[in-house]
């Protein structure tokens, strides 16, 4: 089947109307040598063949492995209600709610999502969501640039290395100076930040917990940054906020993060969810869509896309950002997830993650040859092995475990280091069995 739903006659008619002879003529402005001769696409397949192909492909996934893998994306339980509600066609097939008259349901869920993100981070305003944690951090950086008109940034080297790469890639052709402090498993080394912090600095960019799992209280860094007129952007792991100090409490100006852990399944490449919140004074510098509450002419409460004149469909090249979309369905998943848990349930979830991770740390400390790094953590921590972490991954996978993320993948001098995550899904028996197999892998 042709995916372009026009008959040959319709195509002919359209071409005739605009005065060209063939579809090929539409490309006449492109030099013939530069035009693709073929796209090397295989022949079309039937539904049956496609289904068979995809089923085979999906069998390559190993769904029975017990995961201790994190590093930015986490294996949390997703209550069935999330899928049940989000797959309702009212949500699933809805388009951009430009027309508020017929999009009240969608707009209300986005508004509530924004409210939930504000409550979670202790910030004043949140946007309707972005693509993922990395893009939202980049958008946070651009916001700071627009607010301050300064182009120097200090980023902590212990930020998620994928985010770091994204920040450098996105800003490569912009006149920015980005100072990166050396990475460090423990809490942020203040002096490394302060020696670069000056009145040219637009923002200091931090992450909590950092990539190695270490939690920190950045209140003092925020104070220092503010004293030279710089902002502080903190990227957070939302599940941790039920337990540890929130970025709002630390005085952060802009908060971003990856929302995958809030009810979005792990999948290679997404779709995921970026969240972004800030102080109200910066709302006009905020990228993307924002939903606001208002009243209609009869005084009834309603919702609309607000502050749209900053966006590119109206302000064109002078728009606040090129982002003109949001991840509405993923944001809805996050909202349902948070609503189902409720305030107390969320705190409980956060505690479960912490407690299980602390339990695992205690157990692993007993294994000879392993060094559990001694820093305060939430549900993720770094261990040093007496061998290349990749070897352990290979051995442990055979035993039914994904043991964690080998840090040598990102940091050359950390070949023997493994980043381990313990979520609420990991049972005590699994942790003990994991420790036993880890001990065997190292010491037998």
């Amino acid at each position: 089947m042709n995916y372009i739903p026009h008959t040959k006659e319709e195509v002919k008619e359209m071409l005739k109307t605009i005065g060209v002879h063939s579809v090929e003529d539409l490309f006449s402005d492109i030099n013939e040598e530069l035009r693709a001769k073929s796209f090397n696409l295989p022949k079309g397949k039937s539904e049956f063949e496609v289904k068979e192909y995809l089923e085979k492909l999906s069998q390559k996934n190993n769904l029975s492995l017990i995961s201790f893998l994190g590093g930015g994306f986490y294996d949390h339980y997703i209550p069935a209600v999330v899928d049940a509600l989000v797959s309702r066609s009212e949500f699933y097939t809805a388009y951009t709610p430009y027309q508020s008259e017929c999009s009240q349901g969608t707009l209300q869920t986005i508004y509530e999502y924004q409210t939930a993100i504000c409550a979670l981070t202790d910030m004043e305003v949140a946007n309707a969501s972005l693509y993922d944690g990395g893009t939202s951090l980049f958008e946070g950086l651009m916001m700071a640039y627009r607010i301050k008109g300064r182009n120097k940034f200090i980023i902590d080297g212990s930020l998620n290395p994928i985010y770091q790469k994204m920040l450098f890639t996105y800003t490569e052709n912009l006149p920015f100076e980005i100072v990166r402090t050396p990475y460090h498993i423990g809490q942020v080394e203040r002096e490394k930040i302060y020696q670069n912090l000056d009145e040219e600095t637009a923002a200091v960019i931090l992450q909590n917990p950092n990539f190695f799992g270490t939690i920190d209280d950045y209140t003092d860094i925020v104070e220092h940054a503010h004293s030279v007129g710089a902002l502080v952007i903190i990227s957070v792991y939302p599940i941790s906020l039920g337990l540890i100090k929130t970025p709002g409490e630390m005085g952060a100006d802009i908060v971003t993060g990856e929302g995958q852990s809030l009810g979005i399944p792990l999948s290679f490449g997404g779709p995921y969810l970026g969240f972004l919140a800030c102080k109200e004074e910066f709302v006009r510098k905020m990228p993307g869509r924002i939903v606001g509450a208002t009243v209609d002419k009869e005084g009834k409460r309603g919702f609309v896309l607000t502050l749209q004149v900053r966006e590119q469909h109206i302000r064109r090249q002078k728009a606040t950002s090129n982002i003109c979309t949001n991840s509405a369905l993923c944001a809805l998943r996050a909202l349902i997830f948070l609503s189902v848990l409720g305030k107390n349930g969320f705190i409980e979830l956060s505690k479960l993650n912490y407690d299980k991770s602390e339990f695992a740390k205690r157990v692993f400390k007993e294994i000879s040859g392993i060094d559990v790094l001694n820093t305060p953590t939430f549900n993720e921590f770094t261990i040093r092995l007496p061998m290349d972490a990749n070897e352990i991954v290979k051995k442990m996978t055979k035993k039914g475990f994904v043991p964690g993320l080998p840090l040598g993948k990102f940091f050359k001098d950390m070949k023997n280091y493994l980043l381990i995550t313990v979520t609420e899904k990991r049972k005590k028996e699994e942790i003990l069995k994991f420790a036993e197999e880890l001990n065997n892998a190292i010491n037998l």
């Binding site: 006009r284 004149v309 900053r310 109206i314 302000r315 002078k318």
Partner: protein, 135 residues
């Protein structure tokens, strides 16, 4: 929008093609937008003011006005240094609609090059320019 004959144009001001006005008093210039500009924008909801001390350049944007329809840049009628801004606009942006030539002024600059006023339109020329626009 009001018809051309109903537009309020002031005689003692100089105008740009983008509908900003400047009132020159000694080496100081008070800047705002014309009645035509405020009426085309519709209800102003937010004014992004420049910072005191900023150097601005003739015909380059230095502030912006947000209405329900659009965000529009405000262009500097003359070059100079911002020495005063109308703080009242942060809480009452509607002053631009209500009183574009008095209470709705945006900023005062220290003019750096008086000769630049030759690039601006006096009352009669601006009136003609508007008549053309509104034809």
């Amino acid at each position: 929008m009001k018809g051309g004959d109903k537009m309020d144009i002031r005689e003692n001001l100089l105008y740009t093609k983008e509908h900003e006005w400047i009132k020159i008093e000694g080496n100081l210039g008070t800047i705002g937008i014309s009645d035509y500009a405020q009426s085309s924008l519709g209800d102003v909801t937010f004014v992004e003011l420049p910072k005191i001390g900023n150097e601005i350049k003739q015909f380059e944007p230095f502030a912006s006005v947000e209405s329900v329809k659009a965000v529009s840049d405000i262009y500097a009628p003359m070059s100079g240094k911002i020495i005063k801004i109308n703080e009242k606009l942060s809480t009452s942006p509607e002053l631009i609609n209500q009183s574009p030539y008095e209470k709705g002024w945006i900023a005062v600059i220290e003019i750096s090059d008086e000769k630049e006023k030759e690039n601006l339109m006096p009352y009669s020329e601006y009136k003609k320019y508007l008549d053309e626009l509104l034809k």
